[in-house]
Symmetry: C2
Subunit: 165 residues, 2 copies
């Protein structure tokens, strides 16, 4: 047993195994973004728009500041994206009732429709991958991904669902 712990069972930590994991992440992320990217390209939007739409859909009424922290970009960068989405009628920005400095972000019907379209495409690939790999593999997949996150982002990752209150 001590043999297994210290011996061959740590083969998954060899440099070669780690390199393969790195490359797998690289190639898989390409697949991960490929389907939404194709849809976005037809609409003159990019990945940045997708991310904003995704997290607004996920946490309706979220503030700009919260979104900034989740996305990890500057407010100037996010603002450019939000401005086009608001102009195009996909997102609404409402002044906060408690704190009127804050803007709360929501998807319009059109925004929600696009979100569904993008999400459907991305989930279809995830579903196929999950189905092909099976429940146990999926559990492992999630565990490793979580362990790869920066602690701060891991907290935010968990907080997204708890925030729905």
């Amino acid at each position: 047993m001590a043999e297994i712990q210290g011996g061959e069972n740590l083969l998954f930590l060899t440099d070669e195994q780690l390199r393969q994991g790195i490359e797998a992440m690289f190639f898989a992320y390409r697949g991960f973004t490929a389907d939404p990217d194709r849809i976005l390209a037809t609409l003159a939007y990019g990945r940045a728009h997708h991310r904003a739409i995704h997290f607004i859909a996920r946490s309706p009424g979220t503030t700009v500041n919260n979104l900034l922290a989740i996305l990890g970009v500057t407010k100037q960068s996010l603002n450019r994206v939000l401005r086009t989405l608001i102009e195009d009628g996909l997102v609404i920005s409402r002044v906060g009732s408690a704190d009127k400095r804050e803007r709360h972000l929501f998807l319009t019907e059109a925004g929600a429709a696009l979100e569904r379209k993008l999400s459907d495409a991305q989930r279809a690939r995830m579903r196929a991958a999950y189905r092909a790999a099976g429940p146990q593999a999926v559990a492992g997949f999630r565990q490793v991904l979580e362990a790869m996150m920066d602690p701060d982002l891991r907290r935010r990752y968990h907080a997204i669902r708890e925030d729905d209150r």
Copy 2:
């Protein structure tokens, strides 16, 4: 048994589970690139340089065309990156002996040193994540990532190691 297959065991395919997987990919990828990005920023290089260096290190003597297919960018985009790496003495481009149209790419000592530095940082995070999650989780992680790739890239992903001949 039929119950399990069609019932609760497919909970890993609910939209909510899939969404969580999507978000996990997003946050984990940020962690995945964070450490090399910090190093690259101090050197006036970017992720594009890292990718080129990585795959040249992985398959020394690879051709520009092969690299293009792996990286999935235009030759103009790759060329700009390669040009700076060659100018800076990190990469050598050698005219092919069999086919003199082809250029074979190699890292210089300095290039290999930078590759090691970037790779060490990235592998340290992977190693920590792998260790935290355990061998079984890692196997699942790899399975799901593979299933997410486009078939073409999946072939290239496998071919990288077989190409070392």
